[in-house]
């Protein structure tokens, strides 16, 4: 694709930003935060709460300012077609890296279900020895919290209650954000804003349902992060997904704000599209979760 676009020389200049202190400050914010968190985890005598709060506040302020600056550059027409392509490629590969992050946790889930639990239950020659010497009473099954019954007996979340509702919410939200996109391309700004508000509401409702489900799991089902490998994979996968939904919702709120300020044009609105791609990605991950974590 890139080769074709270069067939006719594009002579307009590429936008090279002025020197900026935001990236350096963002690093400082990150370091303060993780240093605080590590002190908290190890009970070290450092002001952990202050470090975490300072880092997080600084980080949020910088991300807001940095993105506002980028939005302003865009609105002032500093970006040409080539810069727009850069953002498209950049966002695509960023989403791919996120896919690989989830792949690690899905990999852990599949490995546990098809290999480690089976071996603990006595499958294979090495599994036979492990099982007969260490845990002769353990039978492989899924869900499980392992031969040590780590975390105690638990029940699983039924996929046909809140998770099904959540699936409907997210799938619908993918449709509504596409409606918003079509409205933006047709220069129907008010319709676009309305569809975006619907999408944000769906995302927020999803998060509410997810929080409710977690509370039920902890209080009524005794399903916790510590419930063996089932609890680990369940909460880490759905938890990281939930974090991404939260981030996606914040991103949608910010582009809706930009729509209200009159940003974006029908023919050029990458900020909007990038958020929409991210939202679809979050949606696809959920479908994977619904099938492999909840149903199967």
């Amino acid at each position: 694709m890139a080769t074709d676009t270069h067939a006719t020389p594009n002579l307009s200049r590429y936008f090279v930003p002025a020197p900026s202190a935001w990236p350096f400050c963002l690093t400082i914010a990150l370091i303060l935060t993780v240093y605080g968190v590590s002190g908290y985890l190890e009970d070290r005598a450092i002001p952990t709460t202050a470090l975490i709060c300072a880092g997080a506040a600084l980080g949020i302020f910088i991300i807001f300012s940095w993105f506002r600056g980028v939005a302003m550059e865009s609105e002032h027409g500093m970006y040409n077609e080539q810069v727009s392509r850069t953002y498209r490629w950049g966002m695509s590969w960023f989403i791919f890296s996120e896919v690989m992050f989830f792949a690690a946790f899905f990999g852990a889930l599949f490995y546990a279900r098809t290999l480690s639990v089976e071996w603990l239950g006595g499958a294979g020659e090495k599994g036979f020895i492990t099982n007969s010497i260490l845990w002769p009473h353990f039978d492989a099954a899924w869900p499980t919290n392992g031969p040590g019954h780590v975390g105690g007996a638990f029940e699983i979340v039924s996929p046909w209650k809140l998770p099904l509702v959540n699936t409907c919410l997210l799938l619908t939200s993918s449709v509504t954000i596409t409606m918003a996109h079509h409205a933006l391309k047709a220069a129907h700004r008010r319709a676009c804003i309305l569809w975006m508000l619907v999408t944000i509401a769906l995302g927020a409702t999803f998060l509410y349902c997810q929080a409710t489900e977690y509370m039920e799991a902890y209080k009524e089902l005794n399903l916790t992060l510590g419930s063996g490998v089932y609890g680990s994979t369940f909460f880490m996968l759905t938890g990281f997904h939930g974090l991404h939904v939260t981030l996606g919702t914040i991103m949608m709120i910010s582009i809706t704000g930009r729509l209200l300020f009159g940003h974006f044009k029908p023919e050029s609105h990458f900020g909007f599209e990038g958020v929409a791609w991210y939202w679809h990605f979050v949606d696809v991950v959920w479908v994977g979760l619904f099938i492999f974590v909840y149903i199967l």
Binding site: F24, Q82, F101, F105, A112, G146, V229
Partner: protein, 547 residues
């Protein structure tokens, strides 16, 4: 071409020269500034990691415990590896990509300059945090750089800092990789088609894909370690249904492509240098590209050859053994092509070429010992011995590190506008080449005789080879001061004006980077040149368009 844009100059006049003082380096969005920062950071890390290796070698000079207690020894082996891999080799290659990729494909800067700045500045902070763990109660991480559970979960206060440092390095690598991919796909000058790109650009494109694919997996793996230690998860706990071996699978799914992340850019550098000094075009250009792509693909399906002794099923051992041996085919294509490029060339032996030839020869030795290790039954014998240490140091030191050194000798006239001292360069080359073999060749024998790695003491029959190895390590380290002298002399002009470099620098050099003056202007190609079939600008000297 330049006049067409006079009206556009208003908003970016500030971009014509760097700021002054420290703020220039903190705020810079310039690929050359950031390339320089990356390279100096990489040298600092090589120096620190090198000092750690000297402690290790000093301790191993003779049997018994002399200088450090075993706990501290383990901290040094672990941190030596982390510092060298994530702080030395990888940032070194990113620094070279920063400098050279925009100049080689004819664009003004990397595609995302502010993100580039962020990617760099994460590193000094991440490594300061990591190195600070030496001073915490319990000391630095000591479970080996592969951070296998359950051992690594016994790490004390430094454990979360280790995990978060790896997260930050991962963010840095991913942002850097996305930047390189986007730059190469989107910013090539008109006429610079994919199959006209220099091999260094090609190898970095493929390396960047590897980074984007595997660094998030490492992030996932270390996150699971963190939650296993502090939040009660059971990913690597058999009692909870998990499996410590699962960590090894996830880690090496990252770890094996990581090995190629550290060598593919080296292939690109060598493929640039050898044609220049053989005064012949690279033999088999297209096959070089396909070979690199094949190696990158295969790197995803060989990971369990690091785990032949953990008890994976026989079918797995066979699959991973044969897939690993398959990598020898594209690698062989590359070595063959380098030699065929030199065949009947009109060769001269300037310092970069000497390092490149040494790379071909010594990297192949490391490749052959890798092939021996790929054989599962042989690996049962060699696993965790000094044979493995000898193998990966042969591919990393006379491989990756020699290629970085060669690249710096090759391109530093372009960067600084001054030639390095050739005599000092030759001394540096011969001392480095001799001492590196003195250091690592005896380790093959130690490993075959059964000396285990990561142990501060050993049986007396291993003494002679260990003494030789230690002498080599100190010699290699000291030899590098010649290199530092040569670099600083170029940077600060200690040799006077008669050492100024021409635009082309090397008689046989071709490519866009040699069409601009030395030193290259702060913004090289603000207006993209039109690239001809020979990879050079069509309108004569493209420097006319550079400001």
């Amino acid at each position: 071409m330049a006049h067409a844009h006079d009206d556009a100059h208003g908003h970016d006049d500030h971009a014509h020269g760097p700021d002054k003082g420290i703020m220039r380096w903190i705020k810079t969005t310039n690929h050359k500034d950031l390339g320089t920062l990356y390279l100096f950071f990489s040298f600092t890390m090589f120096f620190i990691g090198g000092l750690m290796s000297l402690v290790i070698r000093a301790e191993l000079f003779q049997p018994g415990l002399q200088f450090v207690d075993p706990e501290l020894f383990n901290q040094f082996t672990t941190m030596h590896a982390l510092v060298m891999i994530f702080g030395g080799v990888m940032p070194g290659f990113v620094g070279l990509a920063n400098w050279m990729v925009p100049m080689m494909i004819g664009c003004s800067d990397l595609a995302l300059p502010r993100v580039n700045n962020w990617g760099f500045w994460l590193l000094p902070f991440a490594f300061t945090m990591l190195l600070s763990t030496f001073f915490l109660p319990g000391g630095a991480p000591a479970g080996g750089w592969t951070i296998y559970p359950p051992l690594v979960l016994q790490t004390g206060n430094s454990f979360p800092l280790l995990i978060f440092a790896i997260h930050l390095m991962g963010i840095s690598s991913i942002t850097g990789a996305i930047n390189v991919v986007v730059t190469i796909l989107n910013m090539r000058a008109p006429g610079m088609t994919l199959l006209k790109m220099p091999l260094f650009v090609w190898t970095w494109l493929i390396t960047a894909y590897l980074l984007i694919a595997v660094m998030p997996v490492l992030a996932g793996a270390v996150t699971m370690l963190l939650t296993d230690k502090y939040f009660g998860t059971s990913f690597f706990n058999a009692a909870g249904g998990g499996d410590p071996v699962m960590f090894e699978h996830i880690f090496w799914f990252f770890g094996h492509p990581e090995v190629y992340i550290m060598i593919l850019p080296a292939f690109g550098i060598i493929s640039s240098i050898i044609p220049t000094f053989a005064r012949k075009p690279l033999f088999g250009y297209a096959s070089m590209v396909y070979a690199v792509a094949s190696i990158a693909f295969l790197s995803f399906i060989v990971w369990a050859h690091h785990m032949f002794t953990v008890g994976i099923p026989l079918a797995g051992e066979l699959f991973f053994m044969f897939s690993t041996m398959l990598i020898a085919v594209p690698t062989g294509v590359k070595v063959f092509n380098w030699i065929a490029t030199m065949w009947k060339g009109s060769m001269t032996y300037e310092t970069p070429m000497l390092f490149a030839i040494a790379f071909v020869f010594l990297f192949s030795i490391g490749g052959f010992s890798g092939l021996s290790l790929a054989l599962a039954p042989v690996d049962f014998q060699y696993h965790n011995t000094y044979f493995v240490v000898a193998h990966f140091h042969y591919v990393l030191v006379p491989g990756a590190v020699f290629s970085i050194i060669a690249a710096i000798y090759y391109w530093i006239p372009k960067w600084t506008g001054r030639m390095y001292n050739e005599a000092a360069g030759k001394w540096h080359f011969w001392l480095s080449s001799i001492f590196i073999n003195v250091t690592f060749f005896p380790q093959h024998f130690l490993g075959l005789a059964g000396m285990p790695r990561r142990i501060p003491d050993y049986a007396v029959q291993f003494t002679d080879f260990n003494m030789v190895s230690t002498v080599g390590a100190f010699g290699f380290f000291i030899s590098q001061f010649i290199f530092i002298f040569n670099i600083l002399a170029c940077c600060y002009g200690w040799f006077g004006r008669q050492r100024n470099a021409t635009a082309q620098v090397w008689e046989g050099a071709t490519g866009l980077e040699w069409s601009v003056p030395s030193p290259a202007p702060y913004h090289t190609f603000e207006d993209p040149p039109l690239v001809g079939d020979d990879g050079m600008p069509v309108h004569g000297n493209a420097a006319a368009h550079a400001h």
